[in-house]
Symmetry: C2
Subunit: 205 residues, 2 copies
Amino acid sequence: MNKSISKATPLRGPADHNVRTQIVEAAEEHFSHYGYEKTTVSDLAKSIGFSKAYIYKFFESKQAIGEVICGNCLNSIITGVKDEVEKASSPSIKFRHFFKKMVASSVELFFQDRKLYEIAAFAASENWAPTISYGKEVKQIIETLVREGRETGEFERKTPIDETVDAIYLVMRPFINPLLLQYNLDLAEEAPSLLSALVLRSLAP
Amino acid sequence: MNKSISKATPLRGPADHNVRTQIVEAAEEHFSHYGYEKTTVSDLAKSIGFSKAYIYKFFESKQAIGEVICGNCLNSIITGVKDEVEKASSPSIKFRHFFKKMVASSVELFFQDRKLYEIAAFAASENWAPTISYGKEVKQIIETLVREGRETGEFERKTPIDETVDAIYLVMRPFINPLLLQYNLDLAEEAPSLLSALVLRSLAP
C-alpha cells in the first residue's frame, strides 16, 4: 500500500476508482487472513496504511467494503457459470452443467479461501445487497434456460414460468447459498446430478 | 423427582424402565430450561435429585440421555406425519400432505420448544443415531408413497426407485432437518407447496 496516496494527495474524481480498488484489495487480503467479523475499520486502516478517515471517504462502513468483496466474489462465480452454460448444446445439458458448476465453484471458494467464504456466508445470513442480487442472477439464468427449453419443445409449458423458476431455485439453494452450503458439503458431490435429473424429469413435456 | 428411589432402593429388571423414563423426563425438563450443551451430568443430577453415579447406571453419558430425548421428539413428528398421510386419498395428495406436515411439525418444534429444538439441531450436526434413523424413516415413507403411486399408475416407473427416493429426500431435507431448517424458516410457508408441485411433476408418467 502506498501511504503517500492516502495522506499527501487525496485523489478525487475518476482516480477515486483506483483508491477504492486499492482499499478493497487490501481489505480482502486483510480479511482473508484475520476474518471479517473480528476486524475493525481501525485495524484495517492500520494494516493497509491508510488513515481511518481516509477509508471513510470511500466507504461509509466496514460492511460497505465487505459488500464489494462479497459482490466481486459472487460475480466471479456467476461469470464462470455463464461461460460453462454457453458451451453446452441443449437446454437440458445446459441445466446440468449450470447446477454442477454453481456447486463446484461454491465448494471451491469454501475450501480455497475459507475467510472469504465466511464473508459470503455472513452476507447471506444478513441479506446483504450482493447476496440478494446473486439470488436474482441465479434465478435469471434458470429462467433463461427454462424459456429456451420451452421454445425448443424440450420442456413443458403448462406450469407458470415464475412457479417453475422459484421451485428450481429452491432445489438448488441449499448447495449454492454460502450460509447453507457449509452444512451440505458432504452431499455436494452427488446432489447436483441427482437433483438435476429430478428437475429435468419435472420439466419434461 | 423421588430421591428415595435413587438412593434407598435401586430398582432393577423391568422396573429399570420407569427410572429410565423418570431420568429422561426430568432431563428433558432441565435441558428445555437450561439448554443441552451447557448442562453437565452433575448439574443434571443435582437438579433432578438423583446421584450422578445412579444416572450413570442407566445412561453411559449425557449424550445417551440426549439421544433418547431427541429420538422421542423425532418419533413424535414421524407418528403425526404418518397419521396425516393415511387420511389422504391418492399418492399425490398423500405426498403433498406429507411434505407440508413434516415441515409444519418441525417449525412447531422450533417455535414451541427452542431448547429441545437445539438438541435436535445439535444431534443432526453430530450425526447422532436418532437423526440417522429419522432420515431413514422419512426415506421409507417417501419410498412407500412412490411405490403406491407407481402401482396405481399415477407415477412414472422408469427411474430406479432408489434414485427417485434419494432425490426427493434431498429436496425435502433443508426443511425437515433441524440443523438446516433454522436457516430456511422464512421459506417454510411457501416451500412445501412449490416443491411438492415440482416433485409431483417429476413423478408424472
